[in-house]
């Protein structure tokens, strides 16, 4: 048609500059791909390092100990009752048992080293067994008992000389002897999930922290979901659009960006200072987290409401539904998946939050799981913070283990968000 000087074909070089344009696209794709690979790499590195360190928290070393449960060894007289069984000094029994296995050991310090093989909880383990099975009294038994944290680390570290310098050469020899006899093995550490915090790493668990987090999140959900969703519905559907509401909107957006520790200070000043609520309680923790989560929930709920097509509102109003009927019968059900997603994302953020909890005293050492929201409690991220600060080396793997538990809960919550969204999602 025209007399232009293009070569008569359709290959790339037929038009000048096209090759350069394609080159740009290829470079951009490569950049994007490498960005994704880099972030994936970081994620894999992060998770893998935590799993490798934290795996140890879920297993423990146990030692097979021969225990003499004869009446004489327990110090029981004939006609003993169950109260007498409780009063037995199991510490002595356990010490006697382990010394009995190494009859050649003598001297105070050597004997102390010997008893240091077993964890501080060994006597309670034995007590539990005997109280549950009183018929064992009078017999010789062998039990798998929890080893001490240094012994545990030495075993899980592959019994290398350079690990667990806390153990004396003598203790290492005993370990090798026990290993040869098949008296050492690793077992699943249920205590880590069912026990609460302890000064002894082999006894410490996350149950108290899980319960504290659960209480705090429950309070947080109750407060922030109801208040947040109602605020969002009012602002989006009922409030007049004027200078005041836009001022409010700007401030809600600002609140979402406020550092979380500020909410902790606010909680300290108001909930503890003015209202006199108990320190370290998960109730206050939940209230502080609710303050922090509110802006997120309000913003995501408003976005979800805005996404409902206006035709649905008009349809409802057009057949004479009142404003509130149109909103609650038609608009809110359609916006609910978005609201729930925003809420769960807010909750997940609250679950991982440490700073505001430090301010209201949820950072104390608490050895009992809380039984109500008013009891002093810890929370999972705070537990991680506490253990990371502990001098005992065995707490390193506990820290990583607690992080794994926290991550597991986060994954579960995000999964719940996806499932809820899929279930409630309706197309229009």
């Amino acid at each position: 048609m025209t007399d232009q000087a293009y070569p008569p074909n359709l290959v790339t070089d037929a038009v000048p500059g096209v090759r350069k344009r394609h080159g740009k696209e290829i470079r951009f794709r490569l950049l994007g791909l490498s960005a994704i690979l880099a972030s994936l790499g970081f994620l894999v590195f992060f998770v893998a390092s935590i799993v490798i360190t934290g795996y140890g928290a879920f297993v423990k070393t146990v030692v097979l100990v021969d225990v003499d449960l004869s009446q004489e060894a327990l110090g029981l007289e004939a006609g003993y009752t169950s109260t007498d069984l409780e009063d037995v000094s199991y510490r002595t029994v356990v010490r006697g048992a382990i010394r009995g296995m190494f009859a050649d050991v003598s001297g105070r310090s050597a004997r102390r080293e010997l008893t240091g093989l077993l964890g501080a909880g060994a006597e309670f383990e034995l007590k539990d067994i005997v109280l549950k099975n009183p018929e064992l009294v009078g017999s010789q038994q062998s039990f798998w008992m929890t080893a001490s944290d240094d012994f545990d680390l030495f075993n899980k570290g592959g019994a290398k000389e350079e690990t667990a310098t806390q153990l004396t050469p003598q203790q290492k020899d005993w370990y090798r002897g026990l290993l040869r006899d098949g008296r050492v093995k690793t077992a699943f550490n249920a205590d880590f999930l069912t026990a609460s915090d302890s000064r002894d790493p082999e006894l410490a668990g996350v149950w108290g922290a899980i319960k504290g987090s659960f209480f705090a999140l429950g309070i947080c959900l109750l407060l922030s979901f109801t208040v947040g969703v109602l605020a969002a519905i009012y602002l989006e559907e009922f409030a007049p659009k004027n200078r005041w509401t836009s001022f409010l909107e700007v401030n809600i957006n600002n609140l979402a960006a406020v550092p979380s520790i500020t909410y902790g200070l606010l909680g300290l000043a108001i909930f503890l200072g003015i209202f006199g609520l108990p320190r370290s309680a998960s109730l206050v923790g939940g209230m502080v987290l609710a303050l922090m989560t509110l802006p997120t929930i309000i913003i995501s709920s408003r976005v979800a409401l805005q996404a409902v097509p206006p035709s649905i509102r008009e349809a409802a109003l057009g057949i004479g539904a009142s404003h509130i009927q149109a909103v609650f019968h038609h608009v809110v059900p359609l916006a609910l998946p978005g609201m729930l997603t925003g809420t769960i994302i807010g909750m997940a953020r609250a679950l991982g939050e440490t700073a505001p909890l430090l301010m209201i005293g949820m950072v104390a050492f608490i050895a009992d799981a809380p039984s109500s929201v008013l009891d002093p409690a810890s929370a999972l991220p705070v537990q991680v913070y506490l253990w990371a600060d502990s001098p005992e080396r065995a707490f390193a793997e506990k820290t990583a283990g607690a992080i794994l538990v926290l991550l597991a809960f986060l994954v579960l919550m995000n999964l719940a968000a996806v499932i809820l969204r899929k279930r409630f999602e309706k197309r229009w």
Binding site: S311, E314, L317, G318, R427
Partner: protein, 275 residues
């Protein structure tokens, strides 16, 4: 421009229609209606009477204000921020903008069908049952079932959906959805049905179906339809009002508007020279 009663009589007389009592007392009487959006006028000084049990078509080019006028009639403009309506609109002699008028009660009597089919994302049954339920027009169970059935029958949809009333309404075709919206509107037994370009999203076959339906519905309802299609206005309506640039240019019997318009702008529009 006010069209005096005598002129209307003349239209009727020239076309051979008998003046009925409903023409003497229009269903809807609008006078001096001004509407502005945030101070920007959309329609000016509109005077229009709507006769009962007839189809009135509002025609005109895009942006001429016909939809704005339609939405004044059941106060749907109330939900638009910055929209101001002045003038007098009466339904059966009652000012619908008077203090104390409840839009819920008004819209119960003046139903609406929208441009795009907008069924609720619920079941077919729920879509029709919603109106009677919130207005307490039918009890539960059999009573409500009967209302739903008769509404769907009058909307000509019953035979197509009677076996799947619990299916989601959004799964219907566009034409079926629009008939469902009509069924939803007539389920609450309004006096007037406003239709805002009800066929603009539909194919010619679905359009023909809706037009047939409109023709049947005018026995019981007063219908006002906004349409872009002059053929549609000519086919379904008895009366036509032509809007241009926010003004009501001419109104009267459809036959007269299309064959013997008084205003040169109307003539230009209906013959296809503008618009």
């Amino acid at each position: 421009m006010v069209i005096p009663m005598t002129k209307e009589m003349q239209f009727s007389a020239t076309s051979g229609l008998e003046p009925s009592p409903s023409e003497a007392h229009p269903k809807i009487h609008a006078s001096c209606v001004h509407v502005s959006y945030s101070g920007r006028p959309a329609i000016r000084d509109v005077d229009l009477d709507i006769r009962a049990n007839s189809v009135t078509a509002l025609i005109g080019p895009s942006g001429c204000g016909k939809t704005t006028f339609l939405r004044c009639l059941n106060r749907m403009n109330d939900i638009i921020d910055g929209c101001e309506v002045r003038g007098n609109i009466q339904l059966d002699g009652e000012d619908i903008y008077a203090a104390g008028v409840d839009t819920v009660v008004l819209r119960r009597r003046v139903g609406m069908v929208f441009q795009k089919p907008n069924p609720f994302p619920k079941s077919i049954y729920e879509n029709v049952a919603y109106g009677p339920r919130i207005h307490g027009l039918a009890g539960k169970g059999k009573d409500l079932d009967a209302t739903v059935q008769s509404s769907l029958e009058r909307a000509g949809l019953w035979d197509e959906v009677k076996d799947r009333l619990d299916a989601p309404a959004t799964g219907l075709s566009g034409g079926q959805q629009q008939r469902l919206c009509i069924a939803r509107a007539i389920a609450i037994e309004p006096d007037v049905i406003l239709m805002d370009e009800p066929c603009s999203a539909l194919d010619p076959i679905a359009t023909a179906r809706i037009e047939e339906l409109i023709d049947e519905l005018k026995q019981n309802f007063t219908i006002i339809i906004v349409t872009h299609s002059m053929q549609q206005a000519a086919r379904v309506s008895q009366y036509t009002a032509f809007f241009h640039m926010g003004e009501l240019v001419e109104e009267g019997e459809t036959k007269v508007i299309f064959t013997n318009p008084k205003d040169p702008r109307t003539e230009a529009y209906v013959t296809g020279r503008i618009g």
